[in-house]
Symmetry: C2
Subunit: 379 residues, 2 copies
């Protein structure tokens, strides 16, 4: 006799994504309010900071400590902020993850306590995996400190580190408790990283938000010139589009057919690997977007006029649409690696219009080759 019971589990996760300025000014109540709403009395908080950020902004750990002291009614640091490797080094091994585990253990953080992680996207990925797996999940407040992390990487529901030489091989789906983006922290960011981060804004606009695309075209001269208000607006709208994509797709943990917003990313991943980190993720994404935009055009999915609009926006933002490494790329192998990374059938996003995407499951190799040649010729 066989007995089958159908189990249905429906957890819900609600979290705020807040964009503010000077989050650690004691007069800024964003963080204190989030902690206050989590329960009575001071909440235990362990803080981890991206070493790259602290190098650029050495006063940060002190400001965090002062903020906690000023808000001692809701916030109790378990120890001084911990400075840990940032950038891709954070994801290269288990060191950051282990440090977060040890922090939760030393500080006796429980599932109702907090880890506050302050740093770039890679740092948040690694620290987030540590927080998500200590006690099966300590509450994580992410404070993304790069354009890329504020508008994309830091607002989602994934974490992870690299392993076996593969990006994000080990990780989990784990929504944060809150995301607090401090726009003022972007002031120390090199201009190159600001621009690279905007590639994700172009991506999300191209695949799902024609109004945002039009607005980015308007904002582009100000963004390229380093205008602060323009950047704030672009970041908020980009994050919003990513959040809507995750929440609205019906499959936020990508258990079935849901796909991340990864237009242009198959080539981007391969270019990042080929250049061994010389290219920023966003820079690689810009090249990938340009390539797949031209491919969409050459295969008749996208009009030539729209393809030119997309490439023009990248140009206007100062994002290069070509890199020499693309010339040498084994594109068939890169697509196969991407298929393997996603699992199962190949899914590539292509454009059918500004703000409209379609999924394709095979690639026309000669047209892809022609798109690459066309991109090379535009230099």
């Amino acid at each position: 006799m066989t007995v089958a019971i159908a189990q249905h589990i429906a957890p819900t996760f609600d979290f705020p994504v807040v964009f503010t300025r000077k989050a650690f000014d004691p007069a800024n109540s964003v963080l204190a309010d989030i902690l206050a709403q989590a329960g009575a009395g001071p909440r235990k908080v362990g803080v981890v900071c991206d070493a790259g950020l602290v190098a650029a902004d050495p006063g940060l750990p002190g400001r965090v400590t002062a903020y906690a002291a000023a808000h001692g009614d809701v916030m109790a640091l378990v120890e001084a902020p911990l400075i840990l490797p940032g950038g891709e080094a954070a994801k290269a091994d288990f060191a950051v993850v282990q440090a977060v585990w040890e922090l939760t253990f030393r500080g006796k953080l429980c599932r109702q306590s907090f880890v506050l992680a302050i740093g770039g996207g890679a740092f948040l990925d690694a620290a987030g995996f540590g927080a998500a797996t200590a006690h099966r999940g300590v509450r994580l407040i992410r404070m993304p400190t790069t354009v890329l992390a504020q508008n994309d990487a830091g607002v989602g529901v994934k974490n992870g580190i690299n392993y076996f030489g593969r990006k994000n091989y080990i990780g989990a789906f784990a929504p944060p408790y809150a995301v607090v983006s401090d726009h003022a922290l972007l002031a120390t960011l090199p201009r190159r990283d600001v621009l690279a981060g905007l590639a994700e804004a172009v991506k999300v606009a191209l695949v799902r938000d024609p109004l945002f695309f039009a607005r980015l075209v308007e904002l582009a001269p100000r963004l390229a010139a380093g205008d602060d208000e323009a950047l704030f607006e672009a970041n908020v709208r980009c994050a919003e589009a990513h959040l809507q994509h995750i929440a609205g797709g019906g499959d936020p943990f990508e258990l079935g057919s849901a796909r991340p917003l990864d237009f242009g990313h198959w080539a981007a991943h391969a270019l990042e690997e080929a250049t061994r980190g010389e290219l920023r993720h966003g820079e690689a994404v810009a090249v990938g977007i340009a390539l797949d935009t031209l491919y969409s055009c050459r295969t008749g999915l996208l009009s030539r006029a729209e393809a030119e609009q997309a490439l023009s926006l990248l140009d206007a933002l100062g994002l290069a649409v070509w890199h020499p490494a693309l010339a040498d790329l084994d594109m068939a192998a890169a697509i196969e690696a991407f298929r393997e990374h996603l699992g199962g059938r190949l899914h590539l996003s292509m454009l059918t219009g500004i703000g409209q995407r379609i999924e394709v499951h095979a690639v026309d190799a000669p047209q892809l080759e022609a798109a690459r040649a066309e991109l090379a010729g535009r230099q």
Copy 2:
């Protein structure tokens, strides 16, 4: 200016929990049907087996391989079943987790591929954490092979390993893709482990299911005598009660105030630690149940008659309600450790009737002491 976006994420997880017999008899279609419904063509499957189980049933890996060969249209083993340490050793370090990561890598398993984990609850916890974190989650089919795993540990949404000397310090919430319980595999289980596993049935009946309690009282003589049909029924009903608790509580990932069904578990955890594994988990739970039942009675929550019914059922199932280690237990420290394990405020389940529990947030130490003394005196 501060901008706040409210994100709402609502993933759903549906999985079958199937009780069958001889799951690897090629004529048994349960496993093949689950794989067939996952998509077209053979699904890639990596298999990990609990070494303790294989020692008791050396033919198992061969039966798995033969089953896959017989169902080659839906099931493609990526390699021969891997034999890994079972029991508490599986959770003592990262060895099993690491082995699962390596299996997924060697076998090029993707998020749509499967890990089939066959073993006891501890083994499933460790292998499940590996599967849940490779690619942020490869599909996991759990095949629990002990009474405890089939009726409780193997049907939930948690995994984990011990770390820093703490039970389940590292882990995640990750629903399985399916659970297939093979009743025939219980035939090799020592009688002691069968009985110990029934402690969880008594627990779930006492805290939420008076009809199941009544049925267990009826079944007890047959269960104690090793009747196979009675055990099948008890396992199915116990699993059902656990599944309903997880699904029905509105907080399956225990983000807020949801509590696991852990009646009697504060003492059980401490006794397991104190006896360093000499006591089975279920045996420790039986003592913990008895202690908290008498405490519930002595504090006026539960009638004496109902307390005696509960203790009688444990007796009838051959479960001892006393262990010498309880005499030496620092109960205040054990309760504090349990509070820390849960996080935040102390929550202890106590009984107000057969099938009815209440949460208490403090303990009357003299009454607890008296309950222990009463238990000692019953020996």
